[in-house]
Symmetry: C2
Subunit: 168 residues, 2 copies
Amino acid sequence: MEEKCEGDNKVDDVMLPGFRFHPTDEELVAFYLRRKIQGRALPIELIKQVDIYKYDPWDLPKFATTGEKEWYFYCPRDRKYRNSARPNRVTGAGFWKATGTDRPIYSSEGTKCIGLKKSLVFYRGRAAKGIKTDWMMHEFRLPSIPADSNPPNKKFLDRTIPPNVLLL
Amino acid sequence: MEEKCEGDNKVDDVMLPGFRFHPTDEELVAFYLRRKIQGRALPIELIKQVDIYKYDPWDLPKFATTGEKEWYFYCPRDRKYRNSARPNRVTGAGFWKATGTDRPIYSSEGTKCIGLKKSLVFYRGRAAKGIKTDWMMHEFRLPSIPADSNPPNKKFLDRTIPPNVLLL
């Protein structure tokens, strides 16, 4: 029996590339960060908790579950820096420095602010003499914990997305 | 029989949001655009062919198969504009204007240029008096068709990604 010829329109049975984990800011704060803070586990550990300041950005991708040029981590907020003059966000080889101001993340269903986003750039070396690199991260946090939500896990966590190699 | 108590670590059977079609530049040119030019059909029509200049950007999302803030289209290249003084990329309500120069897209396996990317902004009104909007598109094309590839479909197509509402 001869195979049916479908000419140029023959459909290949191929895998379609391009589908990946690429959450919106809203999904990151309203689902992943909120659930983490509430201590509600997910079927897959899609985002691992890592103290990212213990590592330089190029050492972080290997800890991530998913990602090619962007990686997602939960990172605990370290209270000791809050009222301290000690430079924050320092790693072995350099430091993370915020760029611009924190931007609000609004719910797509309304004008409610559901989170805040801070963008940071990694500098090699120490403050004042640091050399800017292409490593960026976007840090997400909840704006505040409403009194009525009573989360089981009081530890406040940053949802941190380091590092992202910028395409120059 | 009593249900096993898993305490705070109880795993919810939930859908994990954040998985979507978000191809890399390389996937767009090396797979989707190349196959389109070669006339090789895919099991799903993930990217539709639309003459995008017949529409204003806000009318385009409804034609797309997938996308929330980014939409993907194939758009035929219109040869008549090439040697003409007539303004190119004009729509009913405005026009698309290139911003910056074309950027090469390199294969992740080497330094070979596999495509070119042009970014454009939509302006309301007519040239010189146009008012800039937040609508952007990224246009992808193959750098050239090598003599030995002999594609079945000679029509040269742009892979166009309009429009993308920029988050301000």
